[in-house]
Symmetry: C2
Subunit: 344 residues, 2 copies
DNA sequence: AACCGCGCTGTGAACGCTAACAATCGTCCC
DNA sequence: GGGACGATTGTTAGCGTTCACAGCGCGGTT
């Protein structure tokens, strides 16, 4: 008739009593401290199971110094890149026994990053991953009140901060070279928003690859990652006979571009070849299937976390990790430069 | 020569000393307790600013009952729906002064949900939002060790759990009716994965809408949300002259379907009309632009959070919120049933 | 003049855990 | 055989905050 399960969840002292040991011994068992007799350890673990005990992370964090929670600052997690990176980081964190607290920025600016970081600091996160490839993240980070270990994702020039990045330059080169090798005289570019580092890197590499090949550099077209901006770029480009190859800074823009071309009767790849960036799951099923540059976001997440954990161990030295190398995925949207050339 | 800023961040007692009051008074000021003299309040706030003091959320959570952190359990945050909902919830939570801790499920099963919930419980979250429209989430939730207030998102039959959902039935009806009104004899359906509640609801509503209209119900085609599955469905459907209208359970599937149709020379909307579901940002720029059912995920997130906060206030009664109503967005992928009919 | 109540403030004890140190026991070594 | 030592366990003190319960001073009552 007694009530065996109190509504209040068991705490460490309950386990200790049930196992006939002190709470400290329970703590030792839970934290894998070596000097506990096997027989005692078993007794404790049995009690833990019996009471369905789960240690309280809050108390843990308060008592020890480190919490088992990491913070992630991200921006626009509906975009494929950030979403995929977030997922990668979250998975890796969970595998390493960390919880993940997120803050999504409304705007990519200094104050936003700063606020986000102090919100996370308040929660005593052990470290922070910043998936906000804002051109000015570094400054925001430096102005951080307290020194939380932080890793920045996908920031090209991170200003000395530990960073994991996909080699955007290599990716853009891959795209441009691919198009040049197909016989195109030059390559047009629809770039991403200027406050994103990736966008700048891709544009820069596009430009320098063309220059290195001794080709003329057409005027760059603005874009903001959205399919709409790609569509608008497509409308502008569709009338121009000089345009035979376009490198879009991401796949959504390429989708919009393809749409505009389709509407205007520009045939892809017959008249114009198109390359995107990211290899979103939909790329393979666009009309036509999109040649693009694949980034391994999962790998980014994993390395990112590995780096952060290194940083937690030895906060003095900044670990250096190699960039993640993107690969070209060739599909139907790119083709040999057609005989139209013969007219010239 | 002295060092004015100790590396250790200021704590409440530091503020108290600086302001010449007790730590409890500082606490009162911070929590907006009324019985503090204005002059004292000012003095404390000045000290807070001066020391750049931020209360420690861990200690707060430990001492008081409630933490200011909410948990979110989600699944496959790369998909548009979950990603958008997550973003909506996160925004609303932040606006309400809550932090957000996320757990992304690897698999949609009972244990996954259960583990995720206890991981969050460990972090003493105040409440949980579950964006895992798994058909069996309800059971997993009930087997939860302790009673954390929880709100389920997008679950049709949530088994008595507080839930916010988009009215999938209304949405699917909108899609099917739209196609019937355009003169199509019947509507084919490419459904989503069977363990998703949304997929089941959409399929059910598709079926019953057809039946209510006295139309024949074609065999359903399987899909898994991916563009690839839509593509495969498209290949199967492309040869069939009876197919004049297809309702896809989401926009990605519709994209794949459009691709397959394009490949096989099936013209959209001339030969076949296609409707999707979600209105992802890319839908407008598909070839042709996709008619689809728009869901307001931001609204879902907001209501969800409002509901959870209600639940935190009075855990006894389950608040009831109306469903979010989706709307039809008509684009070029649907058109009047063409003269092909005249042949029959 | 003693008393009550109210506005404001301070004191002590949790909250559940880890860290540092002390205690106990048996063993090993000379 | 005594003391040092290692293995194992217990004890005590925080971590930084909130909660419950006093205190104190002052004006108004009786």
């Amino acid at each position: 008739m007694d009530q065996p399960s109190p509504p209040r969840p068991a705490v460490m002292i309950d386990v200790a009593r049930l196992a006939g040991v002190s709470h400290q011994t329970v703590s030792r068992v839970l934290n894998g401290h070596p000097s506990v007799r096997d027989e005692t350890r078993e007794r404790v673990l049995t009690a833990v199971r019996q009471l369905n005990y789960r240690p309280n992370a809050l108390a843990r964090g308060l008592a020890g110094r480190r919490s088992r929670v990491l913070g992630v600052v991200s921006f626009d997690t509906i975009l494929y890149g950030p979403a995929a990176t977030l997922l990668g980081v979250e998975r890796a964190a969970r595998a390493a026994g960390y919880g993940v607290s997120i803050v999504t920025l409304e705007q990519l600016d200094h104050d936003g990053v700063s606020d986000a970081l102090s919100a996370l600091a308040e929660q005593s996160v052990a470290g922070v991953v910043i998936i906000a490839p804002f051109t000015n993240t570094a400054a925001a980070l430096r102005s951080l009140p307290m020194g939380i270990p932080a890793v920045v994702v996908e920031a090209g020039a991170s200003g000395g901060l530990p960073a994991i990045s996909v080699d955007q330059v290599a990716g853009a080169e891959l795209a441009v070279r691919h198009l040049l090798e197909l016989g195109h005289e030059t390559v047009w570019h629809v770039r991403g928003p200027q406050n994103w580092l990736e966008a700048r890197d891709r544009e820069g590499a596009w430009r320098s690859t063309l220059e290195a090949a001794g080709r003329s550099v057409p005027p760059v077209i603005d874009g903001d990652w959205s399919a709409r901006s790609g569509y608008q770029a497509g409308l502008r480009l569709a009338g121009d006979p000089r345009v035979t190859a376009v490198f879009c800074a991401n796949d959504q823009q390429a989708l919009g571009l393809l749409r505009a071309f389709h509407e205007r009767g520009v045939r892809v790849p017959d008249s114009v070849s198109v390359v995107g960036f990211d290899d979103i799951p939909e790329a393979e099923f666009m009309s036509p299937p999109l040649t693009t540059i694949r980034q391994d976001f999962d790998e980014v997440g994993r390395r990112c976390l590995a780096m952060l954990l290194d940083l937690l161990d030895s906060p003095v030295e900044t670990p250096v990790y190699p960039r993640v190398t993107p690969v070209l995925v060739s599909r139907a949207s790119t083709g040999i430069r057609q005989s139209a050339n013969a007219n010239s």
